[in-house]
């Protein structure tokens, strides 16, 4: 298996002692699998993703348990050893591309960043690969965008640039942390289609994090439901969506807007 997380526990120092953001999280991801993690704000889903990527600050945040990626225990690696994986084998995209893209750097430079760090490619090779990745991310006019800046692009295009940058080294696992939450529904649907297409073409595994089970259902085979740092339910997406076992999962599904009118006093009646 590609990724195996066992008994992951993430603890923060807190004014009143310690706060366990993630209590006991275990998950296996096989090559090419698309797995969703769903939960409310504070359920620990993003924290888990950041731990897998090795993005948590080790000085203050305690991470215990095991994260094995392609047989290597990531939690035992030094920071420089870990860097050999970040952006290369493992990649991440975030909710808000405007904050993860550098506003002062051209698009092309940012898409190529991982190539400069991890490969010995020359400028021409880098550009060719960057344009390939941009096309894969749904930006066929990469040549035109190459010299533009993030503020010149729409939100959806910025997210595509992030996806291109994340894919430029052909990682085996892409972690997508609420990548469509900040986007319009029509753009959201397009980005989900692009991710599906990337999965089909590249056989990449995706760990997709969202608060919205509907979005997860549009993309994932399996889902893990998190609440207050723990997995409360897991299974094939259709099974969980149609036959949720836990009250919490039922509540997540029921909260999705449906075609009903809200009435005053409805929350109490």
């Amino acid at each position: 298996m590609m990724l195996q997380v066992e008994h992951l526990k993430i603890t923060f120092p807190h004014a009143t002692g310690h706060f366990e953001a993630v209590k006991d999280f275990s998950l296996t991801v096989e090559e090419g699998q698309v797995i969703g993690i769903v939960g409310e704000s504070g359920s620990g889903k993003s924290m888990t993703a950041h731990a897998i990527m090795g993005l948590l600050e080790r000085k203050h945040i305690q991470v215990s348990g095991s994260i094995r990626f392609q047989g290597v225990e990531l939690l035992e690696l030094t920071r420089s050893q870990l860097r050999a994986y970040q952006g290369k084998e493992l990649s991440i995209i975030f909710q808000e591309p405007m904050t993860s893209l550098n506003p002062t750097m051209k698009i092309g430079v940012q898409v190529e960043e991982a190539l400069r760090i991890h490969t010995k490619m020359n400028a021409k090779e880098r550009k060719a690969r960057a344009l390939e990745a941009m096309a894969l991310a749904g930006l066929p006019n990469g040549e035109a965008l190459y010299h533009q800046y993030p503020h010149q692009l729409s939100g959806g295009m910025r997210q595509r640039v992030m996806i291109a940058a994340a894919l430029v080294l052909r990682p085996r696992l892409l972690i997508a942390d609420e990548p469509t939450t900040a986007l319009d529904v029509t753009i959201q649907a397009q980005i989900l289609d692009t991710l599906k297409e990337i999965k089909r073409k590249e056989g990449i595994a995706i760990l997709f994090i969202s608060h919205d089970l509907g979005v997860i259902r549009a993309l994932c085979h399996h889902v893990v439901v998190m609440q207050q740092g723990e997995i409360v339910e897991a299974g094939p997406i259709e099974q969980v969506f149609h036959h949720p076992q836990q009250e919490y999962t039922q509540r997540l599904i029921a909260s999705r807007p449906t075609r009903t009118k809200l009435k005053a006093g409805g929350s109490h009646g």
């Binding site: 319009d184 807007p257 929350s267």
Partner: protein
């Protein structure tokens, strides 16, 4: 006497920039909002929906056409309560600011009104001294709503008020808005890109595309018989994620 509309707009055009750069952002927009009504404005980013809101609030003054707003100090609630609450100030300060502007000098009275309003939005006295960083996203949005209401406004423009929230929090905030509307006889202009959310709260909906209202009407009619291609696309995107 027939009830005067809260907002009446006829043939509104709005522009940004000057000379060659001048760009029309609103084209011949006409709409009416009656007291107690919730009108949804849907459209994608860049369709002009937020500009329309700013015209109604009087922030954008570069307009042509007829624009009539018969509401005392219309207020706005934004998508991102992080961005609209000053991180250095307490909830109490934020709620009392409109009261200070209205000339209420008595500290005790301001505090009492602020605490009363906190209760109306499902918070309490314990939140009065907190800073935005000590609140959850949903609580922050409740504070923003309280601040919009505390000065006595009856017309509230809600610009994507639940788009940044979790689905469970979304449902709670929408319910709160419906309850407050009934209690205070409010009118809302509800801006959103999410037709599913719009359905839950709006009586009528106007669909904007490239600065124009391409169709408007009763929510059920628009949902069941969309005329414009963009509306159809929007409905598909929204409903593809349902059921």
């Amino acid at each position: 006497m027939a009830e005067q509309p809260m907002v009446k707009i006829q043939g509104l055009n709005s522009f940004y920039g000057k000379g060659h750069e001048r760009k029309q952002v609103l084209r011949n927009v006409s709409l009416t909002l009656s007291p107690g009504e919730v009108l949804g404005i849907v459209g994608e980013s860049g369709s002009g929906k937020s500009t329309l809101a700013k015209c109604i609030l009087g922030v954008v003054k570069e307009v042509e056409g007829a624009l009539e707003v018969n509401a005392f100090r219309p207020q706005m609630v934004f998508q991102d309560p992080y961005g609209s609450l000053n991180p250095a100030k307490s909830v109490g300060w934020f709620l009392e600011e409109p009261l200070r502007v209205l000339g209420i000098k008595d500290k005790k009275e301001r505090r009492q009104q602020a605490v009363d309003m906190l209760r109306q939005v499902g918070l309490g006295e314990e939140h009065y001294a907190r800073r935005p960083s000590q609140l959850s996203g949903g609580q922050r949005q409740r504070v923003a709503i309280a601040a919009a209401l505390i000065g006595g406004s009856r017309l509230i423009v809600l610009d994507e008020p639940v788009s940044a929230l979790d689905v469970t929090m979304q449902a709670q905030i929408l319910q709160l808005l419906v309850d407050l509307k009934a209690k205070f006889h409010l009118s809302y202009l509800f801006i959103s890109h999410d037709l599913a959310v719009v359905y839950q709260i709006c009586d009528r909906v106007a669909v904007m595309y490239q600065g124009e209202i391409v169709e408007q009407g009763d929510v059920d009619t628009i949902y069941d018989h969309p005329q414009h291609d963009y509306t159809k696309k929007l409905l598909q995107a929204s409903l593809a994620l349902e059921e």
